[in-house]
Symmetry: D2
Subunit: 325 residues, 4 copies
């Protein structure tokens, strides 16, 4: 990281802010990419928990036809996590437009190109996004599986459609705030409190979506920014995954976890724990406001990552439909 | 169109091939953008046919948990419709990679950017993609609604998630061919024959997916190409929309309709008829091979276009789940 | 402008800062694009002042072989003028890299793509960059000459190589400061004082390069920024062009003129005056530090814009070689 | 290479055509990157031959003010070497355009972005473009000097402006053909014959530009293409560099050398010989037609690569001005 940032001439505020309690999470994070329990060929980690039966089960519980749209709009000037890291900003540009003098032509032809960081807008992080010591999930090494256009393993092209039971944990509401404080690390107790207030029980295989409230600041680029957002603590992530057997974790912030990291060696300790050690993918920048407003805490969750070969992420527009409690 | 192509120095084979029977479709196509029956503010046309009730109805018919993935993989070198028209080819490129000497660093950070034509891979065409005489669906004029970054009307950002009953019409199978002949225009009788053989009845509001078989040539860029693919005739499109009240039309070819057009003034007469005159959006380059193999002709169809502001298309990865007959 | 910025969701600090003395420059700027004295077909304005004789004359005066490099390095994370306006940031990305295990392959193949705003790094603004009331230099209207990929008139593709006598006016040195104050508007007297101290006389057809000292802040993106840089006042620009018959004006800042503009209707009044009313092109973000250090005030100036069709600018790397006084 | 192409799904006709006489050039090419005679820090190879004296010497010989423009226009749809290798096609797109209703606004603001392969149009290949067994010129290894955004050594950012004596060798004219035959490998005798007919003598440090005549096919994308162009044989390249001490070699074709290569292990043997073994940079896709027409064989050559950090090439627009014989 340091090497890359120096190379590209970027001064990284996030890294600069990191300080202090290195190694505090030693018991949780092993800082070594782990083998998959689903075998040596596994590239999708906990998404293997989905089965025809699990999908049918949740579909059968659907209680109405209202669809909640969990994706944000994408536009020139939108907030981006990663321009400070050297990544491209979002661009859409026209390649065909109708003639200005429309009397001249029958056809009015419009077309457009886009360019973006794959982690733009609401998106899923795939398991090759962060590894440890050169290895990603399932101990796949960059020497073996990283080409010029991306990893041959665990890219978005390998991802299945996601159809599963989803649960919203509205931490902001539970704490009665519009948005959690800057850099606030959500604790296990915070999650438990919110679940209790909601009367929601987690189940193995759930897609767990955590609401911090920061999306109320979207799309103000000065306020909705990675650098100091609240988010999950490592302990909370561990509780969700090891304790509650969550299949997929999402949030309304840019990076799931609270920033900046307290670990000077690792600016994304929750990412590496989830992606490289636990095989858990992440969904970021989710629009959870309508679900929260309607107090819909349990739902059919649907997301369909674009199969871009090797990609470390895909923009997605997830959907939710309320299920019977 | 001619002006643009001349300007950009592109010789357009499709246009060069167009010849002959101009005006033959006079009774079907009015060649004027039409007003929406859903009111002056409508930007999505027939997608207004979806309701909470229609969605719940089809979800309730789901008969199993197997998910059919109707989207293609996206990769450098993939077939593209539109590079000959001057549009960008698909690019994915890395912006962060792990250090080659992994002993040096704890974190192995991978990131990537993409750039593409919005009509890449499996995608939905929005109603602003083609208009007539400067106006798109609902008689919205380019003078009023076309900015430098795209239309303020009928872009992908305005599109709802699509959850509806889907029907596959396997014309290739009905005609007992691997793929329909080059440039073959599918007739109304072809559709009726296939539906009869399948014992499938269309219903108002259906997402109708037509299989020509050309996806069996994918991803051979020399064979899977817009210029001479089989596809719908204008009459067949009319029958589906005006006769059968289809809500959305998709196909496994690059452009829904057969190419090249026979109309020297209009290289995409089915597009303009559907988009500008009928408010019907299109889904192109669908992967229908698994549905066809399993003879799944009726299904829950789910697609979730990315809300890219103003975009004339969005890559999507639609899903299908069989429903009870 | 306002329309575009609203459309793209960008809050433009420059515009927000503009206030006050609208119309003060009424005598200088007519706010109407002018006809070219070089005829109705002219697209390059004052660059027509170059002739074989003028080029040979200055080449003959060359006094040594030392070459001054007036272009800046271009890299990911470099300062950019225009990301706040929605323009793309600078990206370079690899499309081919050698195998990590080099024992496997004879060839080590590296290739790369770039994407950028055309006004990146040291660059020349062409006459189609800013017009007035829909018309650029020589009263060419956007209706007639603006296509989806750019103007058919006055783009970088129409620009000749530039070989001319160049003069440095070191205003920062004349005022004995490292860099002129924030937003400082350089006056005619400032230019005259600096020329006098330098003992430099301007000649008709000169390339005039103005040093504000801001390049001493490069490439600190927090300090080298368009929004509040010092630069030419409109009066100073007028004096150079109408009084001294300068052919081309350059500076070490991002926008030639001082920012923010005092005209609420025009955030770039010097640009519109020079480009649309006087046919004078601009060179921005020049590296003048070596010339200044060596007190080289008169030189052979060479620049060779890339002939990108229609482009409103081209990155360039101009050169200077001292001539005899 | 094979790995990369397979990975990106591209079938590479050039490689497929390669066959036969592997190893025939064993005496010329060592197939190992060499150390620089200019020391361990050298990144620019033979461009070190330039000195203040050499530059002044050629400038002093300038015989007139006519400038020959050796660069091609760049536009959407232009011929590109490398789209078949997965590289981006040339794109220019507008990011700001004037309002269509120009009565509304004073300012008519146009801006544009570009994206391209760095080897687009007339361009210089830098020494990091091709190495051998993981090492580029001066035995710099990819392990040490290749980052995600490019090499830290021998990129275009390290390149000096090029001001030197240039010589045109018009092989097409010498052989009395419009263009040399497809795939024709230019021999040492061909070069000697042409030089004799032209009465031109090469000197150490020359920029040698070879005319095959293929630019007469530009910009017909069906005819001007890398795959089967005539160009230098390895022997001819050796004669120019080892025998005549050429500093820089250019040509009007896409790849300097004849294609396809006869070496199944190396599809660009002249590239690797010049770049990795001899430290000689290359200029490709030069417009030599005006020089040829005017029979200007000796000239001041000026080129100024853009200092894009790490880039394996830069588009350039070189200039030539005739010198006294």
């Amino acid at each position: 990281m340091k090497r890359l940032l120096v190379q590209t001439g970027i001064i990284c505020a996030v890294v600069a802010l990191a300080a202090g309690s290195a190694g505090v999470h030693a018991q949780i994070a092993k800082n070594v990419a782990q083998k998959s329990p689903w075998g040596p060929g596994d590239e999708i980690g906990t998404l293997n928990m989905m089965t025809d039966a699990s999908r049918l089960d949740v579909i059968k519980q659907v209680a109405g036809g209202k669809v909640y749209d969990l994706g944000v709009e994408m536009f020139v000037g939108m907030p981006t996590c990663c321009v400070p890291f050297g990544d491209p900003n979002f661009q859409i540009f026209m390649t065909h437009t109708p003639a200005q003098d429309t009397a001249k032509e029958l056809l009015s032809y419009s077309g457009d190109g886009v360019s973006m960081y794959t982690h733009s807008g609401t998106h899923i992080d795939t398991l090759n996004h962060f590894g440890l010591h050169g290895k990603i999930w399932n101990q796949v090494s960059s020497q073996d599986a990283l080409g010029v256009r991306g990893w041959t393993k665990s890219g978005a092209d390998k991802y299945p459609p996601i159809i599963a039971r989803g649960v919203l944990i509205d931490v902001a509401k539970s704490k009665n705030v519009a948005t959690l404080p800057t850099s606030y690390p959500i604790t296990v107790a915070d999650l438990q409190d919110a679940l209790k207030k909601q009367a929601t029980a987690l189940k193995a295989g759930d897609v767990v979506l955590v609401r911090t409230g920061v999306m109320t600041l979207w799309p103000d680029t000065a306020k909705y920014r990675l650098a100091d957002q609240p988010g999950l603590s490592l302990e909370a992530a561990q509780w969700l995954v090891e304790g509650q057997k969550a299949m997929l974790i999402g949030a309304d912030n840019f990076g799931i976890e609270s920033f900046p990291s307290k670990d000077p060696e690792n600016f994304v300790p929750v990412h590496t724990y989830l992606l490289a050690e636990r095989g858990v993918s992440l969904v970021e920048a989710l629009w959870l406001e309508e679900l929260a407003k309607d107090q819909v805490y349990e739902f059919l969750f649907i997301a369909s990552p674009l199969k871009m070969r090797g990609a470390t992420a895909s923009p997605i527009r997830p959907l939710a439909i309320a299920i019977r409690k």
